[in-house]
């Protein structure tokens, strides 16, 4: 059978003959590779635990970003109440960025959760396969020690070797996947920690200045909308009202949140 299936068969069969060529004592080789499989399964389990840890870290970041969104929203409201439109605009811009970031994190967390489930499923499958390999190896060991016809033993060894190679292949894929997922989660975490997402003026990968300007245009109009909405909610939309309020409340606003002026 050519093509896909032929190739897959060749891949596994090559692994089998490599395994068996090296084997001086088939019984010992089988026991050893069973032990190896059990050990590797532990690695898969550890890999899943790592993915879970990475996911939890991202979830913590989500929580802190959510708090930041609430805080910035409160600050924007305070600023509008005090008639400080520029300040409100800055707060809303930052809120916008935090929300976008939050959406990105959310996608990552959902994806990690999805992968975690898949990996847990394949871990269970692997466990069953290892158990089936154990049964097969005991059968073949019994045959070997009974010193039956050499041909039959080598045939059986090829059969069990195939299973051995296949478990090995499945295990390798599972380990690769956990490592992949963890690396991706770590990369997001590092970007967050480095504050890459905080720098409004930074150019992202593959972005040029036009991209940035277009982006800032659309985010500007989003901020304009937010600001108009906030002003409507707080009933300070009437012309002149902001100025009067601002003049009267300036001192109070400054005392209400001194950190805001510095950070702005």
């Amino acid at each position: 059978m050519a093509g896909l299936t032929g190739r897959m068969s060749t891949v596994v069969k090559a692994k089998v003959s490599k395994l068996l060529d090296r084997a001086e004592d088939p019984a010992e080789t089988l026991d050893y590779s069973y032990q190896k499989q059990v050990e590797q399964l532990q690695n898969v389990k550890k890999g899943i635990a790592d993915v879970v840890t990475a996911k939890k870290r991202l979830q913590l970041q989500e929580t802190s970003l959510q708090q930041q969104v609430v805080k910035l929203d409160t600050q924007a409201r305070q600023a509008v109440s005090s008639g400080k439109e520029d300040l409100a605009r800055v707060a809303l811009e930052r809120k916008n960025i935090a929300q976008t970031e939050l959406q990105g994190l959310d996608t990552q967390v959902t994806e990690l959760e999805d992968q975690q489930q898949k990996l847990t499923d394949s871990e269970q499958k692997l466990r069953a396969k290892i158990e089936s390999f154990r049964t097969k190896k005991e059968v073949i060991k019994a045959q070997y020690s009974a010193a039956e016809a050499q041909v039959k033993i080598s045939e059986a060894a090829t059969g069990v070797g195939e299973q051995m190679a296949d478990v090995g292949l499945a295990m390798q894929r599972a380990v690769d996947k956990t490592e992949n997922m963890k690396a991706r989660a770590d990369a997001v975490q590092e970007l967050e920690a480095a504050g890459t997402f905080d720098d409004i003026t930074a150019l992202g990968p593959g972005e040029d200045d036009i991209d940035r300007q277009l982006k800032s245009l659309s985010s500007k109009s989003a901020v304009d909308d937010d600001l108009a909405k906030l002003k409507g909610e707080l009933g300070s939309g009437a012309p002149g009202a902001a100025g009067e309020l601002g003049a009267g409340d300036e001192g109070a606003a400054a005392t209400a949140d001194p950190s805001k002026e510095q950070s702005a």
């Binding site: 896909l4 299936t5 190739r7 897959m8 060749t10 158990e131 059969g159 296949d166 499945a170 894929r173």
Partner: protein, 92 residues
């Protein structure tokens, strides 16, 4: 004929299903050549489903060498191309 689904089990299939199996595998292989991810996952699922539906699982105590080994169910197009078909682990 004994067919192994890599990462799963071995199945015993009637020899006269060989042609049908070959056709389904051919469709999956064509999807790899056409670089069509969704056609590939669809045809791979169909191929493996055919084996599961028409075969009987080989018992753990039985030791058989497979006549055909199929890729695992979660094989991606990229894996199929680099590992299981083209210049993968074993060059042509």
């Amino acid at each position: 004929m004994i067919v192994r689904i890599s990462g799963e089990d071995q199945f015993r299939l009637e020899d006269n299903l060989h042609d049908q199996l070959d056709r389904l595998a051919g469709t999956a292989h064509a999807a790899v050549d056409a670089d069509d991810e969704s056609a590939f996952s669809r045809s791979l699922a169909e191929l493996l489903g055919f084996v599961r539906a028409n075969g009987t699982r080989v018992d753990d105590e039985e030791i058989e060498t497979s006549d055909v080994i199929l890729p695992p169910s979660d094989t991606t197009l990229a894996e199929a191309r680099t590992e299981f078909t083209g210049e993968g682990l074993i060059p042509d």
